[in-house]
């Protein structure tokens, strides 16, 4: 192992291996100081740098060259230098720029969360809650596209797309014979398959998992349930093509959908094949490992949009409190 280099992010010192990006260094520290990433994906080579939500300020370049960097930099694609000092949440400039980027991402977004299958596990939703403005200043028609079927199992809603290019990298790097990419330029650019040719590949379903928004959705799951009414369970099976390690999403006895397991940054741990994803929706196909740990902040955890906060009236009445507790336990039980 090469010598570790020192970097200070928002006043928190850490030591990382040379060649680590600022974003990954921040992830090693963890907590609030991790910049949001909409396009960067650690498992996809060449991803990142596009969405600009992870902009940070480098207030000291390195030990050798202490000059600050003139512009905000994309933390996902800038490597740390020895002695670098980075400001993320402590810099008002960064917060302002991030707010601007989020506004730009949302001006043409349909905001159809109430009918979007991604709602509840959507990165743009999280980002909007954290950094978005209350009202839009954009007073023009939002751009619209036709819905496209990418293969028989994936539906593309281009309206919701933020052009992070993650799915393009999946098609490039995980599947053979790339048939989908970006057409057009500027704000008319759209994801599409080559002359709308269907994607027919064992691993194409991973596009759904990498999509940070609801642009690519699983047609076998569409409109079945809100994600916060489903219960995630980790399971595996002996799969000849992939690792077979998945998360099953139950509603009652029924497996509504199968996804790859995601880590705390919303990134897939191991990509899974289409057979596991679409065709094995029965408990007997799987070896159950146990319930999946879901972050306290997630709406999936609370089973509601809001956190399980008892109403004021409940707090006063002991009988109601007991009933509320019972109800809470019942709903959180598998």
């Amino acid at each position: 192992m090469a010598d570790k280099i020192k970097v200070i992010i928002d006043g928190i010192p850490t030591e990382v291996a040379p060649g680590t990006s600022i974003l990954n260094a921040a992830r090693q520290i963890g907590g609030d100081i991790v910049p949001p990433a909409m396009c960067y994906y650690s498992k996809l080579e060449g991803s990142g740098g596009k969405c600009r939500t992870c902009l940070v300020k480098v207030s000291k370049g390195s030990e050798k060259d202490p000059r600050p960097m003139p512009k905000l930099v994309a933390s996902c694609r800038t490597n740390v230098m020895d002695g670098m000092e980075v400001q993320n949440i402590t810099s008002p400039e960064v917060q302002e720029a991030r707010k601007g980027v989020v506004e730009m991402l949302l001006i043409n977004h349909p905001l159809d969360c109430p009918i979007c299958d991604q709602a509840g596990e959507c990165h743009l939703q999280d980002l909007g809650y954290k950094h978005g403005a209350e009202a839009t200043r954009y007073e023009f028609d939002r751009r619209t596209f036709e819905r496209i079927d990418i293969g028989d199992k994936i539906q593309l809603h281009m309206n919701r797309c933020i052009l992070c290019y993650r799915c393009v990298y999946v098609a490039d790097q995980i599947t053979e014979n790339r048939v989908h990419g970006i057409l057009g330029r500027g704000d008319h650019a759209e994801i599409s398959t080559y002359i709308e040719k269907a994607i027919d590949n064992d691993f194409s379903g991973n596009m759904i998992d990498v999509c940070p928004v609801g642009a690519l959705t699983d047609k076998t799951f569409r409109f079945k349930s809100r994600v916060w009414f489903t219960k995630p369970v980790e399971a595996h099976r002996d799969c000849p093509t992939c690792s077979g390690k998945v998360t099953l999403w139950y509603k009652g006895e029924e497996v509504l959908r199968v996804t790859a397991r995601k880590d705390q940054f919303g990134e897939v741990e191991e990509f899974i094949c289409n057979t596991c994803r679409y065709d094995k929706k029965d408990t007997k196909d799987w070896v159950i490992e146990g319930p999946r740990k879901v972050s306290r902040q997630s709406v999936i955890n609370s089973n509601h949009y809001e956190q399980m906060q008892p109403l004021p009236v409940v707090k006063k009445n002991l009988a109601l409190q007991a009933a509320n507790k019972e109800e809470f336990e019942r709903t959180t039980k598998l």
């Binding site: 601007g100 730009m104 043409n108 933020i162 500027g186 704000d187 650019a189």
Partner: protein, 452 residues
């Protein structure tokens, strides 16, 4: 009469052919460089000349060349950026059309200096005639032994290729150009790594503008020190300026850097004054992406000095009261021109040309264009003006490549200097469609600067 180095023989009939060009002293720089100078000598000469990149950014060319990584066993490339598509700039097209051999000769000298054995000229797709002209010139040079194997018996070999682009403005950004040259979608790369380390096909690459490369020929011929004597301060040598707009004599002029802006606009040697006896209202001094300035600020700096056509003088006062020399696209507006309309037009261009890779530019350029369209056609609100300033700030500096900045600057500067006109468009929506705001106070003498 200023000294001409690039366009000295522009009026000689047949200068576009090899024979006439050679007769007029062409390819002497190649002979001098390859026979008598080492590669480091050539780079040293260019460094001494103080030549600054003519494509817009003004980065010293000699420095750029010396930054090129030279690992063993890896080819190096020189790429000429002839994707000139900035509105208001047409100097490279002129040079390539009339003296193609100047570029070819420059390419040979520069490739020799950098040790490149394969070089490319990336020409904008719309310039089909120029592509044919260049290909013919390359064939002529090859037949005369200046290209190909063993040039002038020195053992140095060089192949030169012309690559037509697809006609996208973004492919003028150097990394997008390299992507396009590799046959991919012309999206700018994220830097670092810079092309000097990993450029074309992952090899060290230098990307230079047409004019920068052609200028190496007179530098080698007369010597770097002699060249540095022309011009003022750090702006050395001559520069091609594409003058257009409401002037009597639009066209491409070669000026010695250091001519005053007033001279350039009004003297008969250059633009010959404003057409039809009108008054000057505003100038875009370096192509559409640089800040626009009103008449009073373009002729004199805020401190009351005469503004010169140099990199330093034009940017005097920063973005508050200055602009940039940029690529030398000098667009003159007379009192009948509407700044709001012009800003909308520029904005429309950047909206159309944004590659769509990063969010602020993709969404922001379209937003600004729509708001400006609304202002121009009399549906605007007072708050739109501040909204535009805010959006331009959100784009500027937050994008991968400089296109975001280039889209933001003209809008921000137009509102900074011509806010009255924008407000007039809001308060007089019906008049704004029918007539123009006129000259107003934009040519008034500047107030004396306030002492702090």
């Amino acid at each position: 009469m200023g000294r001409k180095l690039l366009l000295e023989h522009i009026n000689v009939p047949g200068i576009n052919t090899f024979e006439v060009y050679r007769e007029k002293g062409g390819y002497k720089a190649v002979e001098k460089a390859i026979k008598t100078m080492s590669t480091d000598d050539v780079i040293e000469e260019v460094k001494k000349s103080g030549l600054r990149g003519r494509g817009g950014a003004g980065f010293p060319t000699g420095m750029k060349w010396s930054f090129l990584a030279k690992p063993e066993g890896v080819p190096r490339y020189l790429v000429c950026n002839a994707d000139e598509s900035e509105p208001g700039t047409f100097k490279d097209r002129y040079l390539m059309t009339h003296i193609p051999h100047a570029l070819i000769e420059g390419m040979i000298v520069a490739s020799y200096a950098l040790g490149a054995n394969t070089s490319y000229i990336y020409v904008r797709g719309e310039m089909m005639p120029q592509i044919r002209i260049l290909e013919k010139a390359i064939a002529e040079a090859k037949a005369a032994g200046f290209l190909g194997e063993n040039i002038l018996g020195s053992g140095y070999h060089l192949e030169l290729y012309v690559q037509p682009g697809g006609g996208a403005y973004i492919c003028g950004e150097e990394t997008a150009l390299l992507e396009s040259l590799e046959g991919k979608r012309g999206n700018p790369r994220i830097k670092p790594p810079f092309p000097a380390i990993a450029g074309l096909y992952g090899c060290p690459t230098v990307v230079n503008n047409v004019e920068s490369i052609a200028t190496t020929v007179p530098i080698i011929n007369i010597g770097g020190e002699e060249y540095a004597k022309i011009g003022v301060g750090r702006s050395t040598g001559t520069k091609l300026i594409s003058a257009s707009g409401n002037i009597n004599k639009p066209g491409v002029y070669e000026i010695e850097l250091g001519v005053t802006v007033e001279d350039f606009i009004y003297s008969d040697e250059y633009c010959g004054g404003i057409a039809n006896g009108k008054k000057l209202k505003a100038v875009v001094a370096g192509g559409s992406s640089v800040p626009i300035l009103p008449a009073n600020l373009i002729l004199n700096t805020i401190n009351g000095e005469k503004r010169l056509m140099t990199y330093e003088s034009l940017s005097d006062g920063g973005f508050a009261t200055g602009t940039m020399l940029g690529s030398g696209g000098f667009v003159v507006f007379d009192e009948d021109q509407c700044i709001v309309r012009n800003t909308w037009n520029f904005s429309r261009f950047y909206h159309h040309e944004s590659c769509g890779q990063c969010s602020p530019c993709r969404e922001g350029t379209g937003w600004m264009e729509k708001v400006l369209h609304r202002l121009e056609y009399g549906h605007g609100k007072m708050s739109d003006i501040d909204l535009l300033v805010d959006v331009s700030k959100k784009i500027e500096g937050n994008t991968i490549c400089p296109l975001g900045d280039a889209a933001a600057w003209p809008v921000a500067s137009a509102i900074r200097h011509f806010r009255d006109e924008f407000e007039w468009h809001v308060t007089h929506p019906e008049l704004a469609v029918k007539q123009n705001y006129g000259l107003a106070h934009y040519a008034d003498p500047l107030p004396a600067p306030v002492e702090a």
